[in-house]
């Protein structure tokens, strides 16, 4: 009897351990769609990009990553892209509905990698047109941020349109010349700040709230101030982890 019980609790502990390990893994993995190794994006761009990808992911359930690298380590960008895509596992595993924009500013190469599941909406010709019209012209002026913003916008809007899904915030149909002005309205920042203030006020009212506030303040000062703006950006609800999707080399590459 005792033996059976201990066996039972052992499995229980093992299951709990496994679950907590998994959640911590997916947690450290999550909340990120932008991997700016090359350091060509400022927090304000990341904020806008996260918003755009956030709405698209919420509505379509597909996933997107933006990756910039300092160096491709001598690899062809096509090879690098397929491996990176698989490593991150962008898109849901059965659907393979991921999308990745990869930029290597030092090698002057870019690639838009389309997962198997999205190839039906974003064919190579369309992706190539988006690259030529929305990304390359800005990259030629060394304006990486605008190129990435416009390219991402065009990809997301076009994908949703092809699938017949509406993106109320991003808009649909014809692509505007400059999406940044439309998406990056200060209004949304104000709303975020407003909610932030309200939450602080609520927390200040109760005793436990005050201690929570104090501890989080302490934690944030210890963690350094640079993270602050990012936290603000994910106020509308963070991202889940990637789903383990694959790509098969669809999309388009380019140089400038």
């Amino acid at each position: 009897m005792l033996k059976r019980l201990s066996n039972y609790s052992l499995t229980k502990i093992a299951v709990i351990c496994a679950i907590s390990l998994l959640t911590s893994l997916s947690f450290s993995y999550s909340a990120e769609r932008i991997f700016d190794q090359a350091g060509i994006l400022e927090p304000k761009h990341t904020l806008v990009l996260n918003r755009m990808i956030g709405e698209w992911e919420e509505k379509t359930k597909h996933q997107m990553a933006i990756v910039t690298v300092k160096s491709l380590n001598g690899q062809e960008i096509e090879d690098y892209a397929v491996k990176k895509f698989e490593e991150l596992g962008i898109g849901r595993s059965g659907e393979n509905d991921g999308l990745m924009l990869l930029v290597a500013p030092n090698e002057r190469r870019l690639r838009i990698e389309v997962g198997y599941g999205l190839e039906q909406y974003l064919n190579d010709g369309l992706v190539g047109t988006i690259r030529d019209n929305y990304i390359i012209p800005h990259f030629k002026n060394n304006d990486f941020a605008t190129g990435i913003l416009q390219g991402t916008y065009a990809l997301l809007v076009k994908q949703a349109e092809m699938e017949g899904i509406e993106l109320p915030q991003l808009g649909a149909g014809e692509l505007p010349a400059s999406p940044t002005t439309k998406v990056a309205t200060t209004n949304e920042n104000m709303v975020g700040a407003f909610i932030f203030i309200i939450i602080i006020l609520i927390l200040l009212k109760s005793k436990t709230g005050r201690s929570v506030l104090m501890w989080s303040l302490l934690a944030s000062t210890m963690g350094g101030g640079s993270h602050r703006s990012n936290n603000f950006g994910s106020f509308g609800g963070g991202f889940g982890g990637f789903g383990g999707g694959l790509s098969g080399g669809g999309g388009a590459s380019g140089r400038w």
């Binding site: 096509e78 190579d124 080399g249």
Partner: protein, 190 residues
């Protein structure tokens, strides 16, 4: 006493037989799974190959409008496509594919002489499709080769090779592209 010895011997033999059978079944199933996985990857290779070669008629029609007199190349491509259609084994298909890649790369070199064609929007899109299909072929080819590698090692290793022999499994060919065919159709976006 004697009886006990007999039972022990019988037990050992029974254990040995049971062990062998379960090993055999396990190996058999493993090999079948590997073979199936290789076939699946090859199907994917054929799939992207088909996609690539379906682009050719469209490409030729577009190019013909600008470069009527490059007849030889068009004929070359048509010939290699016919060969591919006639090929049944994986090996023949790989060879035919190399022929098409060679002819395609010559076509793309010729195209460089026609700036009007290169400015054609339809042609630009086709080139993107062509580059994409080439990249897809590379990816699926690599995945196929990787699965072949594991398969080839498994069927030749002793004692798995015994089961592989019984199943009639033979070494499969990797899909290698000739260097020339591999580099030529790289599309230049400048």
């Amino acid at each position: 006493m004697n009886n006990k010895k007999l039972w022990i011997t019988l037990g050992v033999i029974a254990l040995f037989i049971i062990g062998s059978i379960s090993w055999y079944i396990g190996t058999y199933n493993k090999l079948i799974t590997m073979d199936e996985s290789v076939n699946e990857k090859w199907a994917q290779v054929e799939n992207v190959m088909q996609r690539r070669y379906d682009l050719i008629p469209n490409l030729i029609n577009t190019v013909k409008g600008y470069a009527k007199h490059e007849k030889e190349i068009f004929e070359n491509i048509a010939e290699s496509r016919a060969k591919l259609a006639g090929a049944s084994s994986a090996k023949d298909k790989m060879q035919a594919a190399q022929g098409i890649e060679g002819a395609l790369s010559r076509l793309l070199v010729v195209v460089e002489n026609y700036p009007n064609l290169k400015a054609n929007e339809n042609f630009t899109k086709l080139m993107d499709e062509l580059a994409g299909s080439e990249n897809r072929l590379t990816v699926e080819r690599q995945r196929y080769n990787l699965s072949i590698k594991g398969y080839n090692i498994a069927i030749r290793k002793f004692p798995t090779s015994i089961v592989a022999n019984q199943l009639g499994y033979e070494k499969k060919d990797m899909f290698q592209m000739e260097e020339k065919a591999k580099e030529a159709p790289k599309v230049n976006f400048n």
